[in-house]
Amino acid sequence: MLELDPAASYLRWQTAPGVRDVLPEEATVRRQLEAIIRETLAAAGYQEVETPIFEYEEVIRAGGWLQDETGECGGVVLTGAGSPEVYRFFDREGHTLVLRPDMTTPIARLAATRLASAPRPLRLAYIADVFRYEEVHAGRLRQFRQAGVERIGGAREIDADMEILSLASRLLARLGLFRFRIDIGHAELVRGLIAAGRFGGREARLIRQALRRRDYVLLRELVEQRGEQVGPQDRQVSAARRLLLELPRWRGGFAMLEAARKQLAFLLGDFPQLAAALDDLHALLTRAKEEGLGIYERESSGGGPTQVIALDLGLVRDLGYYTGPVLEGFVPEVGFTLLTGGRYDRLLEQFGSRPEPATGFAIGLERVILARERAGRLR
């Protein structure tokens, strides 16, 4: 029988669920990786900032968090597993405060307020702990460390998107994750196709949510059963709905993008945002190729990804403020996303600023460490 000493101090004094201590050996690894990250981001001209670990609730809410998002299944409304909860508390004056669930929101607040008159583009970097009060997921506790950049205001959009994409790939490689793949989607492509399928309001939100959670069974249910009835004269609407169901399968490179453009051709006149989104993706892929990044083509897919950029047209990021290309980076060794990001031109105005283009990405430090260990073991 294993005997427990009831007086043992480790039984009496435990850490709260979802948080943990970092011991010297791991702390050393973390500091080394952070040094690489700092150096890489600084070399690209991104200046590090810090923000408070808690904010007023309304700031976090303006960042798209805490929205009453619910999912549906078989006619029953259920709270979505994908809508993250936050840590909330009160100060003595009765203000509701929230531990920051990401860094994009505080930095957007900063850029729209104290840095409102600073020269653009703003290039800001951070390495900071963020907090989510949710079930512990693979490779992520309730407190976890994110490193990332935000590029706010300034030059032509595609240049900014490319800057972020190329910095993201450089960073992954510098961190020793040589076999990475970064998938690119486009927020307006998904929005446009949902509009073309004549879905609005609640249905549109649910469809986006189904795509974000990659719940393709729910997607089918919503698209086939929840749209308003359309007559035979609305061939365009039913065709758009069929394409919406195909969206998750549109993954690949230039060849796939051309095929997608052909399939979408009948919609491009009425929904110019679709054409603009396809142009964005084509330009980004072209620039990525020029910069020497590999482009994923399905036909030649042998042996999995090694430093490649791919398109995933069904990619939807969790927060509603994304407006352009969105990113998701991973390595084959681990089953979860290491890097996320994208363009969010609508966020700054939430903080009373003039509308400003903005884009950025974040990586999860703990997940990077796990991926490095896994990759090392498998090599």
Partner: protein
């Protein structure tokens, strides 16, 4: 090679049968159910099956220990794991219901709003709590691991939230359905990243299963 986490039990036999119809394997389903092995390889088909507890399938898939998994919608909703849901396989069909003793004063769910609290025994505390909250019912959730029907019989609970296929177990234990919560089927789920890494292999499998499922629906109607 694709690794699929499959639940031990009845669903396994039904799933293997569907996989055979889709021309994906020649494995005999019934024998697998008897077997004590936890990993079964079908090298010819390029499949490796991990025989797991139904509740654990989403975990194997979320962490990438398996590329794919077969899980009931009930388990997926309750566990809330971040996995991609690729296909409704149409097997393991049942309903999640709320039931009370036949002689209970509660004739429909609205009556339960008058109770403080409505005590519900269930294997699905998350789903039950969310569902009842949204019905405006003050509920006390009693989490059990099986034979949930027993709880109202011995006064442990006012009602249950559980799965039923034919309603027979409910009837035999003197329980009456007051609400249909959702219809449950087995889903093919995938790890979000491995779905991309092995997309050609997985898309092919999904296409064939989709056809097999459609063929079944066609013969039924």
């Amino acid at each position: 090679m694709l690794t699929i986490a499959v639940p031990k039990g009845r669903v396994l036999t039904a799933a293997v049968e569907l996989f055979r119809e889709a021309g994906l394997t020649a494995l005999p389903g019934e024998e697998l159910e008897e077997s004590r092995r936890l990993v079964i390889e079908d090298e010819e088909a390029g499949l490796r099956l991990l025989l797991a507890k139904p509740w654990d399938v989403p975990t194997y898939v979320e962490y990438g220990a398996a590329d794919l998994g077969l899980a009931g919608k009930d388990v997926l909703l309750e566990r809330g794991k971040a996995v991609a849901e690729l296909l409704d396989l149409g097997i393991g069909r049942c309903r999640m219901i709320c039931a009370v003793p036949a002689d209970s004063n509660i004739t429909n769910l609205a009556d339960a709003r008058l109770l403080f609290p409505f005590r519900v025994a269930t294997k699905y505390p998350q789903i039950a709590a969310t569902f009842l909250e949204r019905q405006g019912i003050a509920a006390e959730i009693i989490n059990l691991h099986g034979s949930v029907e027993l709880a109202p019989l011995v006064g442990l609970a006012d009602g249950i939230i559980d799965l039923t296929e034919t309603g027979r177990t409910l009837q035999e234990n003197g329980l009456r359905i007051v609400a249909d919560i959702l219809s449950v089927t087995t889903r093919l789920v995938a790890n979000a990243v491995l779905h991309k890494v092995k997309q050609d292999e997985i898309d092919q499998l999904v296409n064939r299963l989709e056809k097999a499922v459609a063929a079944r629906v066609a013969t039924q109607s």
